[in-house]
Homo-oligomer: 284 residues x 2
């Protein structure tokens, strides 16, 4: 029976291209390297989590987060929340750290003008938006005038209080459950975990309300958060992301929409935004 | 900033009923007790996981699983897989356990005739089905003739090989990530975790292909799986589930579709099947 689940994902036999086939046939130009200036390394005892920032969507939050990182603001902070099927969240539980030259309040960056943005539409029904797709490698949604990032698994956002301008990027969360898309356009998304999400998704769930840890000794320490550009080249994690504006990506989506492997009895013929894989690989 | 996230979920201030308001106003008859004959207790070192079975949808698999449980088949087996944003899975890695009087092959139980079923429709766009809703407390989808359960977070299914009749319920998986709805109508869903999912969702991810643990010492042991009816009354976990065919449940859905709490800048006005909470409480 061990094979049952292997078959479940990879399919036995094989017909038209699978995702693995599509990726094997990808050209070097289908991939893009992460920009070290817009990549964060979140270091925990369990390892490194790599976050791609989205300066094109949330420029002021991204700049503030980088300012904070460069002041070592995050070093020694903790994960103080792990809520099942929702988010993990880190920050300064005592509120004692100084933010230095970083802004303490920033306007929420919830949408950008759609005009001129390289939005790749996904043909898919969506519960929350009439149009969904991808923007520079991030899952996104749009209407006629605006684009916004979507709260899929692994997306990183900036907590805020009631006031729209009360966030600043000092307290961040990562989605570790079914996509909480009702948060779209309500809170600033700043990026996506591209490697190491499994370090975060298994953090013991907090037993307090909303998954907050009830005792300081439950907090999970953060060694540091650094901008990749500030880390010596030799110790960087060199990753490439499949471009979402390529024929290869379109083929990948179709390979997942129509699973023709022999295991499938009822190929869905459909796909949902947050079920589209966004492949990442080590730089060849 | 600690409050930012509290506000994010509960809302500060408050207008029309929140989910908490709806639940506080629920009548005793809005709740139903779990049926001990169709409830499993999965016991791990970390605690008890409670699974509600769905005998109305997958009667042969449910009967076989109960037969296996009553022969102590599962006791001493292990979790051998934990794939991030997908499933955890247990079974007999060596294939040495005898299944006794249980069936070794069962026809897949993927759909049931829709006629006469108490399906509660959810008004929601869905990527995978034209109609979605709830059936006896489980997330479900339907077309004109058939109903089927949906692979939302916490759903429990029975692994199979390529042949539709190759499953038997001896190897089960639980969804611990974004809903893999492409599996709907492809694999028999047998129930849902109603308590203790956080014990399963944090199992260390396997580093082998598809999240299989690479070494036997990584396996996570199962003390036992018992039918609740076979457990002394005093040690049962007495739970109630909010009925999905009630006005209270309808109100709950609306409280989540339209988040009117002051924190929200753009209430979604929409909801997705797998984002509808299915409340569980201790028996009062």
């Amino acid at each position: 029976m061990l094979l049952a689940f292997v078959a479940l994902l990879t399919g036995a036999g094989a017909a038209p291209p699978t995702m693995a086939d599509v990726l094997a046939a990808a050209k070097p130009s289908d991939w893009r390297a992460l920009d070290p200036e817009n990549t964060l390394y979140l270091e925990l005892t369990a390892g490194r989590v790599v976050i791609e920032l989205a300066p094109g969507i949330a420029p002021r939050h991204v700049a503030n987060i980088k300012t904070l990182a460069r002041q070592s603001y995050f070093d020694g902070l903790v994960f103080m929340r792990s809520q099942d099927n929702y988010v993990v969240q880190w920050g300064d539980p005592d509120g004692k750290k100084t933010m230095g030259t970083a802004h303490k309040r920033l306007p929420a960056e919830l949408t950008v003008a759609a005009a001129g943005q390289p939005f790749t539409r996904l043909e898919a029904r969506d519960a929350y938006a009439h149009l969904v797709g991808f923007l520079a490698g991030f899952p996104a949604a749009r209407d006629t005038a605006h684009l916004w990032l979507a709260h899929c698994y692994g997306m990183v956002g900036a907590g805020r209080d009631d006031a729209a301008d009360s966030g600043n990027g000092s307290e961040l969360y990562v989605v570790i459950g079914h996509a909480p898309r009702h948060l779209d356009r309500n809170v600033t998304l700043v990026g996506r975990v591209v490697k190491g999400i499994e370090i975060l998704s298994v953090l013991p769930r907090g037993t307090g309300a909303l998954g907050f840890y009830e005792k300081p000794e439950h907090h999970v320490p953060i060694a540091s958060i650094k901008v990749a550009a500030d880390v010596p080249e030799a110790t960087r994690t060199h990753l490439e992301i499949l471009r979402t504006d390529t024929a290869t990506f379109t083929a990948l989506v179709e390979s997942r929409r129509h699973r023709r492997e022999s295991w499938f009895l009822h190929p869905a013929g459909n796909i949902e935004l947050c079920n589209v894989p966004l492949p990442v690989r080590a730089r060849p």
